[in-house]
Symmetry: C2
Subunit: 713 residues, 2 copies
C-alpha cells in the first residue's frame, strides 16, 4: 500500500489508477487447496446466480494461488435504472422523498442524476438481496457462499487523490466537502465526517475557554465545569438539529424506516403476516430475551476484568512510588503505564469481539437493530475501559482522605496526570495503532507471502497458471492490492469520538487543557480518517443513513452524566486542601449530594431551554422540506379538485338557492306530493331567500326595540 501513498504524494497518475474498467464490484473467491472440487462447483453457481440477477462477470487470477477475482458489472444500464427508479418511488412511499416521482423515467434521471454511491448501493443490493427479490442472494462467508471471501467496490483513485490533496491543504472543511464524500461513499460515512467536522468546530470554544481557565482559574474550576456542561448541551442539541437538516438536504430523512433484512438472521419458522399476508420469518422473542439477558453477566465480566487490571496497576504504582526503594525505581514507575497501554486496547478488542458474538447470538432481523444492539454493548465496554480508572483514583482519595494531609494534597495531581495520560498519550497511541500498525502489518504479511510464492515457484517446473495479459497486469495488481485491504468500519471511528466527548464532558474540569488537546487531535483525525478510507481500507459499501444512529443516545447520556460527574469532581477538589475535606464527612456527603442534584436539574432545565431556543431558529433543511411539501400539496390538491364536485358555494345564485324559480317550483311540487310538507320543510319555507330573511329580521328588530322602549318608559 506504501506504493499508493507514494504515488499520491509524487503526483503520479499511472494508467491503472485512472480507470476502474467499468467494474462495479469485485468478488474475491477463495479456492482452498483442501476443497478444490467444492469450490469449483460453488464458482459455477456463483456465475450463474450473477447472470440470473442481470450482472455480467469476468474472472481473473486472484491474490495468490488460492483465490480468483470475479469482476461484476450490471449487464443492462436500463435495468439498473429501473431498479433505481423503483427505489426512488419506494422512498417516496415511505415519506423519505417528498416530491412525487415523475412518471417519465428519463426526466427523473435528468433532474436528479445517479451518483456513484447510489449506483454502487443498488448493485450491491442486486448482489446480496435474496433471489425472490431479484437479487443474486450472495451472503459472503456463510452457507452456500462460504468461499466468497469479500465483495467490494473499487476505489475511485482520481477522486481519492483530489480529496486527500484538498483536505491536507485546507484548514476548515465546508458542506461541499461532506457532500462529495456522500456522493462517493454514501450517507453513512458522510454523516461521520459531518459529525466530526461539527464537533471539531464546536471544540474551538471550550479549547479557548479551557486555555484561559488554565491560565486564570486553574484546575477544578466551578466556572469551567459549568461552561463546559452548557457547551455540551448546546453541542448535543445543535447536532440533533444539524443531523436532521443534513438528512433532509440529502433526501434521506426517515430512511431508517426502510429496514434492510439481515441475511445472517436465522428464523424458527415462517408465519403469514397478519397485515400483508406475506410469509414472515419469525424468531422467538423469548429466546432473544434470554440471550439479551446475557448482557448483564457480560457487563459484570467487563467490569471485573478491567477493574482487576486497574486495581493491579494502582497497587503496583503505589508499591513502587511509596514503598519500593530498590534499584531502577525511576524506570519502574513507568511500569503501570506500560501495562495499561499494552493491555487495555487488547482487552477492549477481545471484549469487543465478545460483544459482537453476543449480538450475533441475539439474532436480529434487521441491520439497524443489530447495529444498535452492538453499539450499545461497545459503548458499555468503552465506558468501563475509559472511565473506571477515574473512579478508582477518586475512591482512593476518599479513603486516604483521613490518613494524612500530605497524602490528600498529592491526589488531585494524580487525577490530573491520569487525565493527561488519557487525553494526550492515549490519543497518540491510538493514532499509531490506527494508522501505522495496519501498514506495518500489511508489509510484513506481504513479505511473508512473497517469500512463500517464491518458494512455491522455485519448486514447480514452469508456471502452470496463465499470466495476466500485459495491458491488464497493472490494473489487476492494483485490484489484488485493494482486495487485501481492511474493511472500513465507521463504528470504530464514532466510538473514538464518543469516548473523547465523554472525557470532555466528565473529566475535563480536572485539566482544562484537555479540549485544546482534543482540538489538535481532531484536526489530525479528520485527515487521517480520510487517509484511512482512501488508502488503507477497501472502498466502503455506500450505505444510507439518516442520523449517526445509536451514537446519538450515547452522546446524550454522556452529556447528562457529565453534569453529575463534573459537578461532583469540582465539589470534591475545588477547595484548597483545608476546604471541604476539613469538615465532618456527613456534611460533605450532604452538600455533595445537593450539588449533584442541583447540577443535574440545572442541566435538564438548560437542555429544555436550549432545545426550545434552537427550535425557533431557521433551518435550511426544514425550509426545503416545507417548500417541497407545499409544492406537492398544491399540485395534488389542484389535480384532485378538477373532479366533478362543486367547489364554489353557489356560482350563479348569489342570493340563495331558495328563491330561484326552479327551486320554488320544485318546492311547490314536493309540498303538493306530501300534503303540507314535513315540519322541517315548513320551518325552512317561512322566509323565502335572503332578502325575505333580512326584511323579516329587520322588522322583528325594530318591533323589539319599540317594545323595549315602551317597557322602559
Amino acid at each position: 500500500m506504501a506504493s499508493l501513498r507514494t504515488l499520491y504524494a509524487a503526483d503520479g497518475n499511472p494508467p491503472e489508477l485512472r480507470t476502474n474498467m467499468n467494474v462495479d464490484f469485485v468478488i474475491n473467491y477463495k479456492i482452498p487447496s483442501e476443497a478444490t472440487v467444492e469450490a469449483e462447483a460453488g464458482f459455477t453457481q456463483l456465475i450463474q446466480a450473477l447472470t440470473k440477477a442481470g450482472l455480467a462477470s469476468e474472472v481473473r487470477r486472484g491474490v495468490d494461488h488460492t483465490s480468483v477475482l470475479v469482476f461484476v458489472k450490471v449487464a443492462s444500464e436500463k435495468y439498473l435504472k429501473s431498479r433505481i427508479y423503483r427505489e426512488r418511488v419506494q422512498d417516496w412511499l415511505y415519506g423519505v422523498r417528498i416530491k412525487t416521482p415523475e412518471k417519465d423515467v428519463d426526466k427523473i434521471f435528468e433532474q436528479e442524476p445517479i451518483v456513484d454511491a447510489e449506483r454502487l448501493r443498488l448493485v450491491y443490493l442486486l448482489l446480496t438481496n435474496p433471489k425472490n427479490e431479484g437479487g443474486a442472494g450472495i451472503t459472503p462467508k456463510t452457507g452456500q457462499w462460504k468461499y466468497v471471501e469479500s465483495i467490494f467496490p473499487l476505489h475511485n483513485h482520481a477522486f481519492n487523490r483530489k480529496w486527500i490533496k484538498q483536505w491536507s491543504s485546507k484548514y476548515v472543511l465546508n458542506e461541499e466537502d461532506v457532500d462529495q464524500i456522500r456522493n462517493q461513499f454514501g450517507e453513512k460515512v458522510a454523516f461521520y465526517f459531518a459529525f466530526l467536522q461539527s464537533y471539531f468546530s464546536f471544540l474551538v470554544f471550550p479549547a479557548a475557554f479551557g486555555f484561559a481557565s488554565w491560565l486564570i482559574l486553574g484546575q477544578y474550576s466551578w466556572l469551567y465545569a459549568l461552561v463546559n456542561s452548557l457547551w455540551s448541551v448546546v453541542f448535543f442539541e445543535y447536532w440533533k438539529k444539524k443531523e436532521l437538516d443534513l438528512a433532509v438536504q440529502w433526501g434521506v430523512r426517515g430512511v431508517s424506516r426502510i429496514q434492510l433484512p439481515r441475511t445472517a438472521f436465522q428464523w424458527d419458522h415462517e408465519d403469514a403476516d397478519p397485515v400483508t399476508g406475506e410469509a414472515v420469518k419469525v424468531y422467538s422473542t423469548k429466546k432473544r430475551l434470554q440471550t439479551q439477558l446475557l448482557q448483564v453477566p457480560f457487563a459484570f465480566i467487563c467490569l471485573l476484568i478491567l477493574g482487576a487490571l486497574y486495581l493491579f496497576c494502582f497497587s503496583v504504582e503505589i508499591f513502587i512510588g511509596e514503598i519500593y526503594n530498590g534499584p531502577f525505581k525511576s524506570y519502574l514507575t513507568f511500569l503501570p503505564t506500560i501495562i495499561l497501554t499494552g493491555l487495555v486496547p487488547t482487552l477492549s478488542t477481545i471484549l469487543g469481539n465478545l460483544a459482537e458474538q453476543l449480538t450475533e447470538a441475539e439474532n436480529y432481523e434487521t441491520h439497524d437493530a443489530h447495529d444498535a444492539a452492538l453499539t450499545q454493548k461497545i459503548f458499555v465496554v468503552n465506558f468501563i475501559t475509559s472511565y473506571t480508572p477515574y473512579s478508582f483514583t477518586a475512591e482512593k482519595i476518599s479513603s486516604s482522605e483521613e490518613l494524612t494531609t500530605q497524602n490528600f494534597q498529592i491526589n488531585p495531581d494524580r487525577l490530573r496526570t491520569q487525565v493527561i495520560y488519557f487525553t494526550v498519550t492515549a490519543q497518540i497511541v491510538n493514532f499509531a495503532l490506527e494508522a501505522v500498525v495496519p501498514i506495518l502489518k500489511r508489509k510484513v504479511f506481504k513479505k511473508v507471502k512473497e517469500v512463500q510464492t517464491e518458494f512455491a515457484h522455485k519448486n514447480e517446473k514452469g508456471d502452470v497458471v496463465p499470466a495476466d495479459a500485459p495491458e491488464e497486469a497493472a490494473f489487476l495488481a492494483r485490484v489484488r492490492n485493494e482486495a487485501e485491504l481492511d474493511v472500513y468500519d465507521v463504528a470504530t471511528d464514532y466510538r473514538e469520538m464518543v469516548v473523547q466527548f465523554g472525557y470532555l464532558s466528565l473529566f475535563s474540569a480536572i485539566w482544562p487543557l484537555a479540549p485544546v488537546s482534543f482540538l489538535i487531535n481532531n484536526w489530525v483525525e479528520l485527515r487521517s480518517d480520510a487517509m484511512k478510507i482512501a488508502i488503507s481500507s477497501k472502498r466502503p459499501i455506500p450505505w444510507r443513513a439518516d442520523s449517526i444512529g445509536p451514537w446519538l443516545n450515547a452522546l446524550g447520556f454522556l452529556s447528562w452524566f457529565g453534569s453529575l460527574v463534573s459537578s461532583a469532581i469540582v465539589f470534591m477538589f475545588s477547595g484548597d486542601s483545608n476546604g471541604p475535606g476539613g469538615e465532618p464527612s456527613s456534611i460533605t456527603g450532604w452538600a455533595l449530594l445537593l450539588t449533584v442534584l442541583c447540577a443535574e436539574h440545572l442541566y435538564l432545565a438548560v437542555q429544555f431551554a436550549v432545545r426550545y431556543g434552537l427550535n425557533q431558529m431557521h433551518s435550511p433543511g426544514m425550509h426545503k422540506e416545507r417548500a417541497e411539501r407545499f409544492q406537492m400539496r398544491r399540485n395534488i390538491l389542484a389535480e384532485t379538485m378538477d373532479n366533478d364536485v362543486e367547489t364554489k358555494p353557489l356560482p350563479d345564485i348569489p342570493t340563495g338557492e331558495k328563491i330561484t324559480r326552479a327551486a320554488l317550483e320544485e318546492e311547490a311540487r314536493q309540498a303538493s306530493i306530501r300534503g303540507h310538507g314535513t315540519p322541517e320543510e315548513a320551518f325552512w319555507q317561512r322566509q323565502q331567500g335572503m332578502d325575505e330573511t333580512i326584511s323579516i329580521g329587520r322588522s322583528l328588530i325594530s318591533k323589539m326595540a319599540a317594545a323595549n322602549k315602551t317597557a322602559k318608559a
Copy 2:
C-alpha cells in the same frame, strides 16, 4: 333546564326534542336597545355573509326582547360534500389519512359516511373561516360581529337521552361508548372521556392496594409509595400508547399538524412567505416574548396571594387550636376550612381569568399554540392552589420539630387531615359547584328575567312582537333554552383530573385511602360530565384532536415530581416518632437527599423499561395503520411499475446479454469504428458470456490447485 332533566327521567319524548328542523347552527344575535340601528345594519350584513358562503338562513325572535335567533343550514348538500371531500384530501396530504382518497366522490361517502361531528365541524368552519377561504368570516363578539353573541349547534336529544340512560345503568364503559361520543361531539371531547375511562379503570389497582395498605401497612408506607409511583409510570406510558392508538383508529393521527388560525390573532404587518409566496400575517416574536415574560411576575403573584391565604389560615388554625380558649372553640376550629373552601375556588377563578387575558395578550397565531400556553398557565395556578398547602404543613413540621416531641407527633396527623380534606371534602364541594350551582344560578336568572319580562309586558299595551307560530313554538322555546346554557369547556374537566392525578402521585402515601375516594369520585364524574354536556351546556363544537394535548406534559411532570415528593414524605414521616427525627439534622438532610436522588433515578429507569416493554406490545391502531400503509404502497407501486421501465433483468437472454448475436455484431461494429476498442471494452470482451466465464474460471481453479499441489510436494 330542570324541565329537560325531568323529561329525560320521565321517558317523555315530546315532539320538540325529536327534530332539529335540519338546523345546523343557531346564531344568537343581540339587539342592544342602545344601538338598535347599528345592530340592524349588522344583521343585514350577517345574512348576506351567510348567503354568500352558501348557507341558508331563517330568523326568529330571540331569547327575550333583546336578541334574534338566526337558524343556519347548508343550502346545498352537494357543496358541503365537496368541502368535506376537500378536507379529506387535505388530511391525506398531511399524512393524517393513509388511504389515498378515491377519485369517485360518491364512493368515498359510501365507504365512509359523514358523521354528525364532521358535518357540524365543516359547517362551523364555513361560518367562521375568513372570506378569502370561502367562509362567512364571522367572529363572535369581536369587531364587525360584536353583536353575534354565540354560534352553537343544537343538541341531538334523541342521542343524549339514550346516552345518559345507557351510562347510568352500566358500570364499565367500552370503546363503543367513546366512539359514539366521537361521532356526536368530536374527537376533542371523546379524548377526554377516553382518558377519564382509562384513568378510572387504572385506578382500581391503587384503590385496592391502597385499601390493603391502609389495613396492613398503615400510612407513610415505603411499599405503598413505591407501588404507587410505579403505577403512575405505567399509567402514563399506557395512556401515551392508547392515545396514539385511538388517534389512528379515529383517523386523526397527526391532525394537530393542520393548524387552525385564530381569528382573534392581531398582526403587525403582512409579509410574503419565502416558501409559498402567499401573504403571511406576522407578529413580532420580540413583542410576544416580552408579553410571555409577564408569566414570571404572574406566577409570583399567584404564589404570593395563595401563600398569604394559606399562611393566614394556618395561623388562625394554630391560634384557635393551641392558644385560644374562649367560647365556641369547637365551632371556630372549622373557620380555616370554611375560609379556604370559600376563597380558594374564587381565587382560582380570578387567577384563571388573569391567565386567559395574559394568553390573549400573547397573541398566538393558532388555536393549538393558544391552548397550550393557556393550559400551561392554568396548570401553574392549579399546581400552586392545590399543592402548596402541603409544603406549609411540612415546613411547619420541620421548624417545630425541635420544639417538643409531643408537637412533632401530632403533625403527620395534620398532614393526613389535610389530604382527607382535599381528596374527599374538596371533591364533593367541587361536584356541587360544578353540577348544582349552575342549575340554581340559571333558575334564579330565569325567574328574574321572567319577572322583568312580565313587568315589561305589563307596561306596554299589547305585544308588538309577533308570537311564535304554534307548530314551532315548542321547538323555539327549546332552542331559546339551549341558547342560554353555558359553553362546555373540556379544559376545566381535564384540569380537575390532572390535579387529582397529582394528589395521587404526590401525596397519597400520606393517606392510602385516597385512591379509593378518587375511584368513587371518578365513577360519578364520568356520568356527571356526560350530564353536564347533555343537559347543562350548549352542544360543543366538534373539534378534532389527536391527543389530550398539553395536559399530557402536565401528567408526565406530576408523575415525575411525585417520585421526588412522595419519597421525601415517606422518608420524613415513615419512622415512628423517635425515628429519623431523633438523629442530628445533618444526617437526616444527607439521607433525605440521597433518598430523593435514588427515587428520581429509579423512577427514570423504570419509565425507560416500561416504555420499552409497552413498545413491544401489540397495538390495534398501529396494526391498522401498518395494514393501510402496506395496501397503499402496493397499489401505488403496482401502478408506477406499469411504466416503460424494464422490470425483469434480462427476460429472454438467460445466459447473459453479451453472447446474443445482435450484441456480438454490435460489439464488432463498435470495435471496428474505434480500432481495438477502449481498454474497458477489451477487459469485458475477454470472456464472452456466462458459459465462457465459467469454463475459464474452472480451468484457472484447477490449474491453481495443481500448482499448489506441486508446491506442497
